[in-house]
């Protein structure tokens, strides 16, 4: 597949492969963590530091993202004995992981810090439910709700679903095609011991589940969980001294929007999402195209969000996303597996971080499945993808994460193993 037309981009291409993700870590995925978000974040960042073979003294910057539902970077740094040269807590959910990774590169490049931990901690089930019920159901009306609240237009699924409805009309996409995303991700999750939902579902299970908002069935929607997740970004030079195989950052695009991200339905076509713009920064920056990518992490807040992004980033022709996600391509053993951990639909909801963590492990050839671990500490993958088995992608060299905030806003990142 040819590259999209090369455009002048904001990230200098000389930064390709100059930075790395050296550590990944998470808590367990639960409903009812029984812990504060501060405790979850501390747990996850600690795991990422240990994973990298670093000590807290090696970390000098912490970034986080949240939506008024979590702790702040300086508290977590304090709990881990980290003295900060930089910190920032950013407002936002999905699409933040890739965007903050890009910011971390810029911070290090500017000489402001050397090694950055990025976390997201949330009690997304037991405290502020991400689905829009409980505390999230009736926030005070602010100016940007002037023209939504009176119509009962609320909750992420409902605000995103008109995009999918229009896509079905414009391109003939069918509910059973996106239902395959849940079925396939559930197969992946069944090989992920830490996934919240390890049960395998079929397309029929999805279509038989109750309608939340037509066209969305219950099983088209992601799981709500409590968890902390973290990654550590540093220069490739420093990364060579870390414990893990090198996973280099090829290119990032962060929080790229469609025209009028404030009310994107104002401008058509509404069945196109931010990826159609973001890809013109992502692929030229990364120096690779969709055909070079071995596995994807397309954000699956809903089954259809993964489909729309894979399509608009160019993994298939415009309008053929329904076929792409249902023909076996995105399944383990297929041409380009998506969300091999089970993603948001099955593993847990993290606003994108777990999909980056998974791809880092895949590129290290260290997917944490049930395959035996050898005396050298490396996993002996069987590549038998039956239930309860392996989930390592064979010869995974290049991955792409496609983060989603809304139909109008997306971020993405290409990683490769050395």
């Amino acid at each position: 597949m040819p590259l999209p037309k090369d455009v002048e981009t904001t990230t200098p291409k000389y930064l390709r492969d100059k930075y790395a993700i050296v550590g990944v870590g998470e808590t367990s995925y639960t409903r009812g963590s029984g812990r504060s978000t501060r405790a979850l974040a501390t747990w996850a960042v600690k795991n990422a530091i240990l994973d990298a073979g670093l000590t807290p003294a090696d970390i000098d910057a912490v970034l986080s993202y949240q939506s008024g539902d979590s702790t702040f970077a300086p508290f977590v740094a304090g709990d881990l004995g980290i003295r900060l040269n930089f910190f920032m807590d950013v407002f936002g959910g999905g699409s933040s992981t890739e965007a903050l990774t890009g910011m971390a590169i810029g911070l290090i490049e500017a000489g402001m810090c050397k090694t950055v931990a990025i976390f997201r901690a949330m009690n997304g089930f037991s405290q502020v439910r991400i689905g829009g019920t409980g505390a999230r159901s009736a926030p005070p009306i602010t100016g940007d709700m002037l023209h939504s609240r009176a119509y009962g237009w609320q909750s992420a699924g409902q605000m995103f679903a008109p995009t999918f409805m229009r896509h079905m009309f414009d391109y003939g996409t069918r509910p059973e095609q996106v239902a395959a995303v849940k079925a396939i991700h559930s197969e992946h999750a069944s090989n992920n011991p830490k996934a919240y939902y390890k049960k395998r579902y079929t397309v029929e299970d999805v279509l038989r589940s109750r309608i939340i908002t037509k066209p969305l069935h219950l099983l088209d929607c992601c799981v709500e969980t409590d968890n902390g997740t973290a990654i550590i970004v540093t220069s490739a030079e420093r990364a060579r001294d870390c414990r893990q195989p090198l996973v280099l950052i090829r290119g990032v695009v962060g929080r790229c929007t469609k025209p009028r991200a404030d009310m994107h339905y104002e401008a058509g076509p509404i069945s196109t999402v931010a990826g159609a713009y973001a890809r013109e920064i992502l692929w030229p920056n990364a120096g690779v195209g969709p055909a070079d990518v071995d596995l994807t992490g397309a954000y699956d807040a809903f089954t259809f969000t993964a489909m729309l992004q894979l399509e608009d980033y160019g993994f298939c022709k415009k309008g053929e996303g329904g076929e792409y996600v249902s023909d076996g391509t995105i399944r383990l053993g297929g041409r380009r597996p998506n969300n091999t951990s089970g993603g948001h639909l099955c593993e847990g909801y993290t606003h994108g971080m777990n999909m980056v963590i998974e791809n880092v492990r895949q590129l290290r050839a260290e997917a944490d499945d049930s395959c035996p671990v050898g005396e050298d500490g490396r996993r002996r993958h069987t590549f038998d993808y039956r239930e309860g088995g392996c989930r390592q992608v064979r010869s995974a060299e290049v991955s792409a994460n496609l983060g989603w905030a809304t139909p109008a806003t997306g971020s993405a990142m290409v990683l490769r193993r050395l």
């Binding site: 009306i141 100016g143 023209h147 409902q158 009309f169 037509k214 339905y265």
Partner: protein, 138 residues
């Protein structure tokens, strides 16, 4: 939740331009803004033209003719004020004059039978202490 509580929860925040928009609806008119400088027409309300940034604009009355860009049917309410209304339909509609807005589709019989791009007309309904612009199939 009493009607007064619902109205309080759903009433738009005080805003000079927003207030004019809702006041016009009370008088039976759906209005949008048109730039006198470049001719651009828009909703929701804002103080400058989002195309040319000129603040020289005027209100215009919408004819009420519109088409359905997309829609969803809520089978679950995420705000208590809508709990007794499910299933209800939320739509993106495009006024003949160009601006798009969020709204509801009413009087459609089976909401599942709605067709994208179908013609709609404006119905202004008193609701939540406001006069809410909604649409119905032609």
């Amino acid at each position: 939740m009493t009607d007064d509580e619902k109205a309080a929860a759903l009433r738009p925040p005080a805003d000079p331009l927003g207030d004019q928009f809702w006041q016009s609806l009370k008088e039976g008119r759906l209005t949008f803004q048109r730039c006198k400088h470049c001719g651009n027409a828009w909703l929701p309300v804002r103080s400058e033209c989002p195309r040319c940034l000129e603040a020289d604009w005027a209100w215009e009355n919408a004819s009420g003719a519109a088409r359905l860009i997309s829609w969803v049917v809520y089978h679950r309410a995420f705000h208590e004020a809508f709990a007794d209304r499910v299933p209800y339909t939320v739509a993106v509609v495009e006024l003949t004059e160009g601006p798009r807005m969020t709204s509801n589709i009413i009087g459609a019989g089976d909401p599942e039978a709605l067709k994208i791009d179908q013609a709609l007309r404006l119905v202004i309904e008193p609701d939540f202490g406001l006069f809410v612009p909604r649409f119905t199939p032609v």
